[in-house]
Symmetry: C2
């Protein structure tokens, strides 16, 4: 998996750089370019693997992989704002509003969301029907019934000061991080017009495992390695999978979800090897 | 024109309400619903008239009209934020961050942009090719080469404290308000796969006339009628078409642009009557 992930990282970065270089110069473009640097690119990798499993060429899937990373970058820039999570560090660097201004961070996030949808209209992806399915699915995943909804629940819980229970935190995660992971994992069948159900089941389990692993890293992680503040959730008295389940049961639940996720891929046989590896990587990573 | 404009207002409001009612409940949805109330709906009207001129049925154009108003509403919610233009009044009501919180305003704006792109995927619009053309055009018009770029130029000019000259302010307006007006006016040919050049020329002139009229209203307008703060630009020492040209020459330029715009519609003959009326309305309005 590692070679393919490295290749996807380089390809998607080149694709994002090309799209951003085509924009008029200034702080706005600089901030956008800064915001799409680094990151694990797991969502892009999901797009590329999902595409390969459904006979979609790498060149056709690449604008979609770039779109999902642009969308993810926008959400991070806005989540880090003082009025939201108020984070000063992201991927080991000052956040956009710290490096520039709040206004530039708001606008750069806005423009990265626009860029994501613009990339889905790219003719290289293929038939217009597939591109329209992607637009509809990304709007569903990222809007007020998906990612933005999850973030709003998170902010509301923090404002209320009442820790969430397991059901509420699972629902919140399903929006905040789960929805975009599901979009990425089903991009291949969406482009090809195939049934996305198996990849969607995989993605639901993967997304939840990913969040549990994030919560574990917030407790056990090293700031120098993760590139973001650790102990933040625990310090804020915020409910997490670890605070609700305990550390060892959370680790066991993440492992169980990896099994559930990989089982969902049985129809793809050995061709889904990279997605099996990814699921294990997600819970074993230290960043 | 007035009957058609009233009908479009009611139709587009119903379309927006339907889309927003389908979302999960909470402050986020309430703020989105609030943000799409009122407004002149000139952009929606442009979409509907442009569609009619190119043989696109009202039912097919309606999701596009709702999309352009959702996109416009998102831009207003974000522009009004404390870190941006810091406005407390919009359409005669408290702005979203005043009524709720900054976090809710950021998220509601984000989700309204998403909603706009989601609406462009609506199958009622017709062939997927047309929908993809709309997505590409809206991304171009609203992103870091269009509306967001214009807003970034505006913020940069205010931060620098150096008033802009006529060329710079025309360029800024072309992004900040012009690009979305051009998208709206060309939606019909984009859906139908026809040449949008004539409607685009009309829209360039209309957009500039609209901005000049706005600057005139900032000097001559009545807050109780316009529903927003007046004298704000003049008070901030901000360059406007009025400050650069003088009041009477600005009024003459707006009238000249209306003539240019309506001449561009000659191929449509009498069928473009509503668009002729709209151009005159734009410079004669008091709100």
């Amino acid at each position: 998996m590692q070679d393919r992930l490295d290749a996807v990282r380089a390809q998607v970065q080149a694709e994002l750089d090309r799209a951003i270089d085509a924009l008029p110069g200034g702080d706005l473009r600089d901030a956008m370019r800064y915001a799409v640097q680094g990151g694990k690119r797991l969502r892009a990798f999901l797009v590329m693997e999902s595409a390969r499993l459904h006979g979609v060429a790498d060149d056709a899937a690449l604008p979609v992989a770039a779109a999902v990373e642009a969308l993810h970058a926008y959400s991070l820039v806005h989540d880090d704002l003082p009025a939201m999570d108020d984070d000063d560090l992201r991927r080991g660097q000052p956040t956009v509003h710290v490096r520039w201004t709040e206004a530039t961070a708001i606008l750069a996030g806005d423009a990265l969301q626009t860029l994501a949808f613009g990339l889905l209209a790219d003719p290289r992806i293929g038939a217009a029907e597939g591109r329209v399915r992607l637009v509809a699915a990304l709007a569903q995943a990222s809007g007020a019934a998906g990612m933005v909804w999850g973030q709003a629940l998170d902010i509301a819980a923090e404002t209320a000061g009442t820790p969430l229970d397991l059901a509420a935190i699972t629902e919140l995660q399903g929006g905040k991080t789960g929805a975009l992971i599901r979009f990425a994992a089903t991009a291949g069948p969406l482009i090809a017009g195939d049934d996305p159900a198996a990849l969607d089941r995989y993605a639901v389990a993967l997304g939840l495992a990913f969040q549990i692993a994030d919560d574990i890293l917030d407790v056990t992680g090293d700031e120098a390695v993760t590139g973001k503040r650790v102990g933040k959730d625990a310090g804020a008295g915020k409910a997490t999978f670890v605070s609700l389940l305990g550390l060892a049961p959370a680790q066991a639940e993440a492992r169980r979800l990896v099994t559930v996720g990989t089982k969902a891929l049985s129809q793809y046989g050995d061709r889904a090897g990279n997605l099996h590896d990814l699921a294990r990587f997600v819970i074993e990573r230290d960043t």
